[in-house]
């Protein structure tokens, strides 16, 4: 699969031709930091001063590079396809290889950063549990009721991505056994021929 780069994108990246390879490497590092932690204007200003170019040019260069990396990682394009895609930019052999190196070294990290983005459903994190016996309450004394109290920890959710939400729940031993057998049924579903066929054929 080939990447299709817009005219604007090509223009932003064309700046990379005018600087030497060490600078391209540095821009690559800044672009990856941007993905990991976000950018700051100070970094762009510093680089712009050293290279005697406007801040905007540096910013576009870095962003263009970042976009190139994320699109390539998103589609997991092969080495050959990557080189063919950047050919369009008319860069020299050396620059192309630097870009390829940047892609190959970082694409799995970039993919894992990207995959943390769209979590609009809470995801399981952990389950803590304790077994108690209720002996009495305000309304009635002399009880013997086993209670399983649980704390379910979930990550994400649209209102608090990256933060853990905690839910305290309880159940009784009968329902606990029912839950176990229901969820074991869920685990068995993955081993069926039907599931295996789908996994094999959708790539």
């Amino acid at each position: 699969m080939l990447l299709v780069l817009s005219e604007e994108h090509k223009e932003h990246l064309s700046f990379l031709q005018r600087v030497d390879s060490a600078v391209v490497g540095e821009f690559g590092r800044i672009a990856l930091e941007f993905l990991r932690r976000g950018s700051s204007p100070k970094i762009y200003e510093g680089a712009a001063r050293k290279l005697c170019v406007p801040v905007e040019t540096v910013q576009h260069g870095v962003e263009g590079l970042m976009y190139l990396m994320t699109e390539s990682s998103k589609h997991m394009i092969s080495k050959v396809d990557f080189l063919d895609s950047v050919l369009v930019l008319g860069f020299g052999e050396e620059l192309n290889l630097i870009l390829l190196q940047l892609y190959l070294q970082n694409h799995s990290e970039i993919r894992s950063i990207l995959s943390q983005l769209p979590s609009n459903l809470p995801a399981y994190h952990n389950l803590e549990w304790r077994l108690d016996v209720q002996l009495a309450s305000r309304a009635i004394r002399q009880q013997v009721i086993p209670v399983l109290t649980m704390r379910l920890l979930l990550t994400g959710g649209s209102d608090s991505p990256g933060e853990l939400s905690r839910r305290v729940l309880q159940t009784d031993p009968g329902t606990l056994l029912h839950l176990i057998s229901t969820l074991e049924g869920a685990l068995a579903a993955i081993k069926t021929n039907h599931a295996r066929r789908i996994f094999r054929n959708i790539k």
Binding site: P118, Q170, L179, I202
Partner: protein, 193 residues
């Protein structure tokens, strides 16, 4: 079991054959138990034909005293001797004690369940449902190709229900099931002690 002055007075009237003859006594005992178990308060609960002859204020006092006694006996899980000696002190005849106690035995389990359901507790899980999906791609990342589960825990708290939904990978579901099985093992061990 201890009762206030007014409850004791109400019960003493109930024991008195000149206020409540045998038939009225039986009816009031039945009505008292049933009024505790019905899901809605019924203002006409005391309008039984047998009870019409009795002074209405006395009737209400005795009904209140009887229901208070019943609830306290169930709350404390009082046995036959406790109930009998308590009623004896309040001048109940052996016959009336027997009528009361047999009605109490008839409704005891249901009353216990009713009292046990009063109170605050965390949402109670009743059921779980799941579906297995295959994540192909999303708008940020292509070629994901991983199976995952959508789990929904159906919980109830004080008559309102809520579904807790979350996703998990195969490994996470195995972790969850493993922890639930540990909990089940500890329940089994505790029940054998």
């Amino acid at each position: 079991m201890e009762f206030s002055e007014s409850v004791q007075r109400g019960l003493k009237s109930l024991a008195d054959p000149s206020s409540f003859d045998r038939r009225c006594y039986q009816v009031l005992v039945d009505v008292s138990f049933r009024s505790l178990l019905s899901s809605q308060a019924d203002p006409s609960v005391l309008e039984q034909p047998e009870l019409k002859q009795i002074d209405q204020i006395l009737l209400k006092q005795s009904h209140t005293a009887a229901t208070t006694f019943i609830l306290e006996a169930v709350k404390q899980n009082a046995d036959k001797s406790t109930i009998s000696s308590c009623l004896e002190e309040l001048s109940f005849s052996a016959d009336r004690i027997e009528i009361f106690y047999s009605t109490h035995q008839e409704h005891r389990k249901e009353l216990e369940r009713l009292l046990a359901s009063i109170g605050r507790c965390p949402p109670h899980i009743h059921d779980a449902s799941w579906c297995l999906q295959y994540h192909v791609k999303n708008d940020q990342v292509d070629k994901i190709n991983e199976p995952f589960y959508l789990i929904s825990l159906n919980t109830e708290k004080e008559r309102s229900s809520e579904d807790i939904n979350f996703t998990c990978t195969v490994e996470q579901l195995q972790d969850l099931v493993g922890k639930l099985k540990d909990a089940a093992k500890s329940v089994e061990r505790a029940s054998q002690m």
